[in-house]
Symmetry: C2
Subunit: 256 residues, 2 copies
């Protein structure tokens, strides 16, 4: 399984992915699911992948080859992030179709995000069918893979005006909730931040199993969440069971 999340806010983009791949619980491997493509000062793209590893690797290979061979259409020629998503979806669809006669299980989905000089920074999710959607003002994130466990925290925290480090922390907390509930999502965790209009990408930060930082995020969030829960007001309804408890206590006395 996989979990990837991308966040698009005014200040820029955040990408976060795990690196665990499994074909059955006894065949677990580590593969990065995050890929960077770009030309300094002109265009930058980040792709994250989920689903069949054969399909995603073949798709990424073809994207690289198209760049290398200066194909008519490649990430160097597309004129928008949306066009890049269209291009990516077409390749993914073709790679899946090669195996269509052997049944299902070859599906893959992708997130692609980035910016082209003079255009807005965007993120897009590419479905296994090849079509794509983008994020919105109210929902400034996209997820692929094991997305449910980590969704509630994104829904509550993310707004378009947040700082990038807050968004990155939110992505990590979302990843932490997912790893806690699904063993097949796991470190190393990669985080990449793109700042609007810089048109440059650093290497992703990579946190492995022993990362003191990941442990600190985990510990810190766990502790704060528990505190938050402890601080919930005691509601009037709780009294109902207290009175029931008293009743039970009276019955206990009767037995003596």
């Amino acid at each position: 399984m996989t979990y990837c999340v991308a966040i698009a806010v005014d200040a820029g983009l955040v990408f976060c992915s795990d690196s665990r791949t499994n074909a059955g619980i006894d065949q677990v491997s580590t593969y990065s699911k995050m890929y960077r493509f770009g030309v300094e000062g002109q265009r930058q793209f980040v792709i994250m992948s989920a689903g069949n590893l054969g399909t995603t690797q073949a798709t990424i290979s073809r994207i690289k080859r198209d760049i290398k061979e200066r194909a008519a259409t490649s990430l160097l020629t597309v004129e928008s992030v949306s066009e890049a998503a269209e291009y990516l979806g077409g390749i993914s669809r073709e790679e899946q179709d090669k195996h269509a006669s052997r049944g299902s299980g070859f599906e893959a989905s992708f997130i692609i995000g980035g910016q082209i000089a003079g255009k807005k920074h965007r993120i897009m999710m590419v479905y296994p069918e090849g079509n794509h959607i983008t994020s919105s003002h109210d929902t400034p994130y996209l997820q692929i893979g094991e997305s449910k466990y980590g969704k509630p925290i994104l829904d509550r925290i993310l707004t378009r005006d947040l700082e990038l480090d807050t968004c990155a922390l939110c992505a990590l907390v979302s990843m932490d909730s997912t790893m806690r509930s699904n063993l097949s999502v796991g470190p190393p965790i990669e985080v990449l931040v793109y700042r609007t209009d810089t048109l440059t990408l650093d290497a992703p930060l990579r946190f492995d199993e022993d990362s003191e930082f990941l442990r600190e995020v985990k510990r810190s969030w766990d502790q704060r969440l528990k505190e938050a829960f402890r601080q919930m007001p005691r509601f009037a309804w709780a009294g109902q069971w207290d009175s029931q408890a008293r009743l039970a206590a009276v019955n206990d006395d009767d037995r003596d």
Copy 2:
């Protein structure tokens, strides 16, 4: 869709279920998914259901009929909660098998919990296949239906020594996260608390769409979760993007 969660701690049992049923997003209805069976002072059972409404209703009907007709095996005769789960699973399997020739989609799952005089209070989950599992010391809860959104908070908060009102509040927070992320899970929300060794069951508390209490839980948790996130320490890594930001700012100056 449905979300039901049952919690088993030393002090007793908590059951919480939504009441939304849908066959497509334009055919949404309200059905309670919580059923009580018992004899005061002797045995008490609560059943919650998820899945095909035809299967769950037929199953519950047969359980009621077996009680009424004093069948050889019924919830009045079983000698443990595990045996009750076995009995329930058998009926569910039979009801599904009636439609097996018309394909899939008739699956149902159940949670059954309660106590028989002199025995321990237990909760069991009954799979569509008819077999069942119970909760454990480390995982003192069971879920059916749309379980992923609401799982992280259960994993973090629940321990066997918690008070019942804390467990009920945790179940409601878990329900709130689920409703926020899946529209097809919705009020009225029913909550039922069973206190160990009382062998009596009150009617469930029922909170509808307009419930001030539900809104207060939602508001209160949302606010506390956001505060908890705001209080996360600023990690050293954040500096990386700050320096990148400074670099970008320098570039901006260059452009002037």
